[in-house]
Symmetry: C2
Subunit: 133 residues, 2 copies
């Protein structure tokens, strides 16, 4: 009764050794990581940090509409995943900087690719949607 049948898709873009399909199974931890980087604030934080180090308050201003709670939460999960590096300077008032790790950069540029594609194609998508109502 296990659900780990892995149909081979053979799209050729992943090494044969992995044979994707883990992602098709429910409890695969990659889904969690995927969620962390694709959710609204996670995505924006990663893309924002592609432009370089920012401190907490910078991110608050940049990610318009983010609450302090959501920003903290987002940064913490991405830090725990190893995508974001947090550097706290022990001064008063507090000074905390956030930047992308190497892994963070790698995933962020892939996210950016997706976002760019959507932004560029948005007019076509919207046009299509309006046509079919």
């Amino acid at each position: 009764m296990e659900n780990n049948s892995q149909t081979k898709l053979s799209t050729g873009s992943i090494s044969k050794a992995i044979e994707r399909g883990m992602v098709f199974s429910d409890k695969c931890p990659s889904r969690e990581i995927f969620k962390h980087v694709t959710n609204k604030w996670g995505l924006l934080a990663l893309v924002a940090l592609l432009g370089g180090t920012l401190r907490y308050s910078d991110l608050r201003r940049k990610l318009q509409g983010v609450s302090e709670k959501m920003l903290s939460q987002t940064l913490q999960t991405l830090e725990q995943d190893g995508f974001i590096i947090r550097t706290a300077y022990p001064v008063i008032p507090p000074h905390v900087e956030y930047s992308l790790s190497e892994m963070g950069k790698e995933i962020a540029i892939r996210m950016e690719t997706l976002v760019d594609w959507i932004e560029i194609n948005l007019p076509n998508i919207m046009k299509y949607k309006s046509k079919i109502q």
Copy 2:
């Protein structure tokens, strides 16, 4: 009181004409599209269909754990976005096929890139997470 200040990130990967930042503003419709393709079942449907046309019942089997409601819903939103093409044959019992449109293929391969990266790097990510607890 409008929130459309667009800080230029100059990551160089999007055409200057667009100057990203729309995605940073809350009501940007690209966020909706993004959600449709990055949510659990949307992602899996797109990647599954990269392997070729599938009918409803095939997708049900492939996307293990998906309910009929969630599958219908997912396929409908992706169809409305213009990523998936639905072809119904007027026979009994019903026969409906789903495939990717050209736009669907373009976005699906980008999604696949992301998923592949995560799957390949998952061991490192997990190792990192276990180290920092």
